[in-house]
Amino acid sequence: MSTDLTPVTYYLTTPLTDADVAKLNIGDRVFLSGIIYTGRDAAHRRLVELLDQGEDLPMDVKGQVIYYVGPSPASPGRVIGAAGPTTAYRMDAYAPRLLAKGLKAMVGKGKRADEVREAMVKHKAVYLTATGGAGALLSKCIKKVEIIAYEDLGPEAVRRMEVENMPTTVVNDVQGRDLYAVGREIYEIKS
């Protein structure tokens, strides 16, 4: 695997096409704008249960982006509280099902399972990371928020968000490469 990274910066607006994601390489910076959806483990479990029952999802995921986030409540005058990414492996059991339905990108933090990476290659999708723990900073990119499903889950409810230039980095691309493996290789000092 090549360890040469020459990151390119892209400004993408949702919904995303196959061509939008196919050009992305690990390490590239992507500023996302447009509508994205949120979901964590509890919501994913319900979405996959709907698919199991042959029912429609509360949103069409084709060409869409799911942001793994459970925001803190909005204080007066704000549309949302802190809203940084949560750890993505907890969605690994469910993600391939949504990728098969046309989901084009997931935003979270942390490593993905082999099955999810394979599903990204198969269905042409990418995994992006936003800076974990930078919830205050990332909240500034979120312009509108509306709960569209599972309000009973509180912070874990599915939200439709309008974002503007949300900063992310490509971790897994459609070629099956993994920035976590490549990045560490460059900076490791072996004793």
Binding site: A82, K111, G132, G135, P155, G183, E185, S191
Partner: protein, 278 residues
């Protein structure tokens, strides 16, 4: 006998829960700046800049620095000559409830099977210790779930020795990778028993970033572990770099002749802990 009403504790828990989530400690901020100077990865430097900016926004705009505003871990050192009037546990939980409601903090406790949110971030995890004197010392530690999930306890065979304990610490950080939001602070507890080693590791996290153990032997181990962890190459957010950990804090106590408990408690860069003395 000095009397302290538990309402004082309740109010402090409430205020410190809000403040800890909005105002990152100067020790952590100084560490961001210090490590940024040494970071050779451009992506790593960019992320450290984002964390500095994130802390500024949180403090100035009065919002939490991270959406995971934590499980409420409370350490309380209670002087034996103090009489607390009222129900202490209830006061602490009331303080958490009010702080998380009024501070617009996320409620992150749930039923372990159904995953139904409890709705008010209770119950707090309370560690009470009786100490000599007539003071009460309280720490409020909102602890994030992502870093807690990457923590580890091992009951090593004593034959593994100190080298085995060091290897466990390094392996834990290596396996955790990007998941616990590096740059992290690594708390290590060695000795005690099955329940005490993790508690030593968590107490170790209460220390200031950059503060070495007072025992020179343990301080040297901390420095060695920090260097080895930063040689792993994970870097800020695991995207590659030289800043994987901001510090390693070790606490130790004797253990059973048959045992060698080693616990590693990982703290993300949202290193929130505030304390007050009554």
């Amino acid at each position: 006998m000095k009397e302290i009403p538990v309402t004082d504790i309740r109010n402090a828990v409430k205020e410190l829960s809000i403040k800890a989530n909005r105002e990152l400690g100067q020790d952590t901020l100084d560490a961001f700046a210090r490590y940024k100077e040494k970071e050779t990865s451009p992506v790593g430097r960019d992320i450290l800049d984002q964390l500095i900016e994130n802390a500024r926004i949180a403090r100035e705009e009065g919002i939490p620095m991270c959406q995971d505003t934590g499980l409420s871990v409370i350490f309380l050192d209670l002087g034996q000559e103090v009489h607390l009037t009222g129900d202490l546990s209830q006061a602490i939980n009331d303080g958490v409830r009010e702080g998380y409601q009024e501070g617009y903090l996320r409620k992150s406790t749930c039923h372990p099977f159904t995953r139904k949110n409890i709705g008010d971030n209770t119950p707090a995890i309370i560690h009470l210790r009786l100490v000599p004197g007539d003071k009460v010392h309280l720490w409020v530690v909102p602890k994030g779930g992502g870093s807690e999930n990457m923590s580890r306890l091992a009951m090593l065979p004593p034959s593994k020795g100190l080298a085995g304990a060091k290897e466990l610490v390094i392996q834990t950080v290596k396996d955790a990778g990007p998941n616990p939001c590096p740059p992290m602070i690594v708390g290590v507890g060695i000795g005690g028993n099955f329940e005490v080693a993790p508690l030593l590791a968590k107490r170790a996290l209460l220390r200031q970033v950059g503060e070495r153990h007072s025992d020179p032997e343990l301080a040297a181990i901390e420095e060695e572990l920090l260097e080895k962890i930063n040689n792993l190459g994970w870097g800020p957010q695991g995207l590659g770099g030289r800043t994987t950990a901001l510090d390693v804090h070790l606490e130790m106590m004797p253990c059973h002749i048959a045992s060698f408990p080693v616990a590693v408690n990982i703290q993300c860069h949202a290193n929130r802990h505030l304390e007050v003395t009554f």
